[in-house]
Subunit: 251 residues, 2 copies
């Protein structure tokens, strides 16, 4: 559909009279007829879909039928699974991860998790995190609010693995060994809408027994660059890399 | 220099006796002589530089002369300039930005900055931030500690601009307009060691008068994806993207 750039900021009007070059291009060059549609891009970046209602001598009248919706969601559905970290780090991960486009968050008691939360505490915490996710989604102009799930035992995490197309496990040992291919490959090859689970350990990291279960389920151990990232920083790196690669570099 | 992969984990020894295929390749194929050097990569990923001390019948003796140093620093020297944000956000930016490889941090009073800090308060805050940067550099195994500069007036920022090769300005309006090319181009084209200044506004954003001065000095307005990022999140996105592109994707 043809795009025309207006010289003014967007102001809602019953109809818009297009003249001069735009009129000439629409009617003389494109030979458009009533009911045909075009994009009108205003100087404030607002873009509307407009439909021709009438063609006059030297102007064409159009009316707005809809706003163009800009895609705000990551083309990959990335869920961040975090082994329960200390303090309010989970709040930080959910707030920042929501801004950065995460599809959802899963908290689970990892072997190295220091905090122990009972179901009552978890329910309260989940409520709080859902509120943080919603506020962050609004502030960052997301079109959806990420889902938050807090698990009572790690077995529930392993049961969830089958729901994802790709499982990435951020492993400190892989980072130390200079592993850098897994994340690249996933971001390069994953089809739009691919459901990716990215698993992160708590401060103590992911234990060998956990690595075994995750890799047995198809989990791919990945490094996130040569510097050792804290448990609350690593998910932001992964989400930022996904956005940069899929939303800026390869569009 | 030739790399040979050992079948054992690294254990410091006076000398290492290499036999079998490695011996064959070093001596029969490569015709190496004493004093020549090779890399030995152990199964725990430790890599040493080893020098031949003696060639025997069916084995060659080598001694460790050094460990191979893994590069931990971003190939681009990215300095984060933040308009003074509220609360302890600057602490977060410095801690996370250090983990993510920033070369330095500059704080400045932007037009929209709510907080007003006098020189005494700034000196105290700078000390605290330097400590945070040092701790984060150690924890993330950086080889250098980022420099922290807190400016008393924005004029000092504009005076510093000439010290950088590239100036990126994270501009919310650019993000809203879908700008995505500037960051990509800079990360693609910047030579190793390029000094990049990335400027971020406080909560209120960067004002038109500031944009004018920055662009007049060659600043390039860039978007960081379709979602609106908070002032403390945007720098982490930029650093993560730089690491992903220059350390993982294109090595």
């Amino acid at each position: 559909m043809q795009r025309y750039f207006m010289q003014s900021n967007y102001q809602p009007q019953a109809d818009y009279a297009l003249t001069g070059e735009i009129f000439h291009h629409m009617i003389r060059v494109m030979r458009m007829k009533p009911a045909e549609r075009v994009y009108l891009v205003f100087t404030d970046q607002t873009t509307i879909i407009a439909e021709i209602t009438e063609v006059r001598e030297e102007q064409v009248l159009v009316k707005e039928v809809a706003k163009e919706v800009q895609e705000k969601e990551l083309p990959l559905a990335i869920t961040i699974a975090s082994g329960y970290p200390k303090g309010d780090k989970l709040e930080w991960i959910v707030q920042k991860g929501t801004e950065l486009g995460a599809a959802g968050f899963i908290g689970f008691p990892a072997q190295a998790s220091v905090v122990k939360w009972d179901s009552k505490k978890l329910a309260k915490k989940a409520q709080r995190l859902e509120k943080i996710a919603q506020e962050a989604a609004e502030q960052s102009q997301r079109q959806v609010t990420p889902i938050v799930k807090l698990l009572e035992n790690s077995g529930q995490l392993y049961q969830l693995l089958a729901q994802f197309d790709v499982i990435l496990v951020a492993y400190e040992e892989s980072a130390k060994a200079g592993e850098g291919a897994q994340l690249v490959q996933v971001l390069q090859e994953a089809a739009v809408g691919t459901r990716i689970l990215a698993v992160f350990g708590p401060e103590g990291g992911i234990m060998p027994a956990e690595i075994e279960k995750l890799t047995a389920a198809g989990g791919r151990l990945c490094g996130l660059g040569p510097r050792i990232l804290r448990t609350e920083t690593a998910p932001l790196y992964l989400l930022s890399a996904a956005s940069f690669y899929r939303e800026l570099l390869v569009k």
